[in-house]
């Protein structure tokens, strides 16, 4: 039995680093039932794992706690619920920090739930011993080949544990690694009582989640015809107005910038898309081509007709591992003849390094002339060879850290020993930093168990 006819679910954070104004304005500028926030990328998990190894109270998205501190009065006054994957590799510590700021501001009795079970880093050896190979989905290599260098391992959980946390009365749900669309699907399962075998409904919620998961990317951000987008500075973040039959209206708060049109939604639908007929998630498969869109008002587009299929027996696992070192630096070369001088600077660096016995092959080197069509290399663009200034970016990578540090010494000297007009050595000498490799794998769902716990401020 649905709790309501319509549920408003917004996304206020497309990635860790997105504008703080997204969630703050969503709480203030119009009606809202759920605020979802996405903080995790593949590389993030490894960074968080290292933070936790150094300090057991760390390893989660600290921005989330700051955001809760700023929005708590609105969240409490309006009863807005929050679902965020801010837990990273330490959701319990994230919960502790969240409860602490709620208490600090006198908000008592707020229920904060934690979803656990995605983090399989500590169980890897047991899983391998039980016969799971966690083979790389792209290369087929077994995880054993890089086991010693693994720095994090997390399952992309589905949306049902989040729904379970909401069923238990939580106002704030903190998860670790889950799918991004699951942040939206979880509240819809909770509100509408959708079941595990209602694949069309689960697909509808998944597609709704996919449309809003990158925040303003469906309301006019990163839009081809950018001149047509009104007031991008005050862009409204997306809201899904969902119904229990799986249809939903994509919209944004009245008076906010940007726009919601079929075209703006389609831009996001294709983002990071593979096979449009078979978007694989932990709770169902979703057919993006099954949907119909219709305009139902200004900045209101109704999406309906979503078709889903049964889920696969495996979870996708996001594993990160240490995969060598990299170093990168840049200089700005002013004209005249900026590009020719930048090319000479590049040659000088490699020759000086070679003179000292330090060589890199083409696969290990990055050479870019930013301003002279580096993003669209090889594509004919008029006047690209005559820029008035160029940013020279030189990078190297490999497994020998000392060699990469040696590289770092030869960039800045160009200011006094290269052609004229070399400047902008911002950041000083480049230093080697770690490359975090990404290892996608599959794991039988039967090997993973989830746990939901509820706490109170």
């Amino acid at each position: 039995m649905p709790r309501k006819d319509k549920v408003l679910v917004a996304n206020g954070q497309g990635f860790w680093g997105d504008s703080l104004l997204g969630p703050i304005r969503l709480c203030r500028e119009g009606p809202l039932d759920y605020l979802t926030l996405d903080y995790l990328a593949e590389v993030t998990m490894s960074i968080l794992q290292k933070q936790r190894l150094r300090d057991p109270s760390k390893g989660f998205a600290t921005d989330f706690v700051k955001m809760i501190e700023r929005t708590a009065p609105d969240l409490v006054a309006k009863g807005i619920k929050v679902v965020a994957n801010a837990g990273g590799v330490n959701p319990l510590a994230c919960k502790d920090a969240t409860l602490a700021v709620l208490r600090k501001h006198g908000f008592k009795g707020i229920k904060v739930a934690v979803v656990e079970g995605d983090d399989i880093y500590g169980e890897l050896d047991a899983l391998l011993a039980s016969g799971e190979t966690l083979a790389n989905m792209e290369s087929g290599a077994p995880l054993a080949s890089v086991r010693e260098r693994v720095s994090s391992a997390n399952v992309y959980l589905g949306a049902f544990p989040t729904a379970e946390a909401l069923d238990a009365g939580a106002q704030i749900v903190i998860t670790g690694r889950g799918t991004d669309p699951g942040l939206v699907l979880g509240p819809l399962i909770h509100e509408f009582g959708w079941k595990r075998d209602q694949y069309d409904l689960l697909a509808a919620g998944t597609i709704a989640g996919h449309i809003v998961e990158c925040g303003a990317q469906c309301t006019g951000g990163n839009y081809t015809d950018w001149r047509a987008v009104p007031d991008l500075a005050m862009v409204g973040y997306p809201i899904v107005e969902a119904s229990s039959d799986g249809s939903f209206v994509v919209t944004k708060h009245e008076g906010t910038g940007g726009m919601v049109t079929q075209r703006s939604i389609l831009h996001q639908l294709v983002y990071e898309m593979g096979d449009p007929r078979n978007y694989i998630g932990p709770d169902c498969g979703a057919d993006f081509t099954s949907i119909q869109m219709e305009d139902v008002g200004p900045n209101r587009v109704r999406v309906s007709g979503a078709k889903g299929t049964s889920p696969t027996p495996t979870y996708k696992v996001s594993i990160s591992y240490e995969n060598g070192w990299k170093a990168l630096g840049q200089l700005t070369i002013a004209g005249p003849d900026a590009l020719a001088k930048a090319k000479l600077c590049s040659e000088i660096v490699w020759r000086r390094l070679a003179h000292d016995g330090c060589t890199f092959n083409d696969e290990e080197k990055t050479v870019e002339f930013v301003g002279a069509n580096t993003c669209h290399e090889g594509i004919d663009v008029p006047h690209a060879s005559e820029p008035s200034e160029v940013v020279l970016r030189l990078g190297v990578k490999g497994h020998d850290k000392a060699k990469l540090d040696r590289f770092g010494y030869e960039l800045v000297p160009l200011v006094t020993s290269g052609p004229p007009g070399v400047t902008g050595f911002a950041g000083g000498r480049p230093h080697a930093s770690e490359i975090i490799g990404f290892w996608p794998a599959l794991l039988a769902k039967s090997k993973v168990s989830t746990k939901v716990s509820v706490f109170e401020s």
């Binding site: 593949e42 590389v43 792209e138 990163n222 839009y223 081809t224 015809d225 075209r263 389609l266 831009h267 996001q268 639908l269 294709v270 983002y271 990071e272 898309m273 593979g274 096979d275 449009p276 007929r277 993006f288 081509t289 099954s290 949907i291 995969n323 060598g324 990299k326 990168l328 990055t366 870019e368 930013v370 580096t374 993003c375 669209h376 290399e377 090889g378 594509i379 663009v381 970016r393 990078g395 990578k397 770690e434 490359i435 975090i436 490799g437 990404f438 996608p440």
Partner: protein, 114 residues
Amino acid sequence: MPIVPLSRIADARSGDKGEGSNVGVMARSEAAYMFLKGALSTALVQRHMAAINRGGVKRYEADTLRVLNFLLADSLGGGGSASQRTDAQGKTHGLALLRLELDVPQSVLDATPE
């Protein structure tokens, strides 16, 4: 037939997928979609993006959305944090493809808003 850039009849958005990227090409009319389905082959995209993408190109068709989705297998100079390219996530690959010059029938141009 007039030679115009792909951007005259289609939108695009791109992003990272592992060590490669996807480019979703959205035709702005049915006529444009039908034309692109024939003209915008994987071979043509492969050639146009050859300096960006070192791997193969795969194409998916989504007729109901008027979308052609291209997967470029090795277009980021290594995936994730291994890429040192300015565009390490392929955010600009959509715009790169929209620069492609095509011989488009006048009837398709007439049927497609700028």
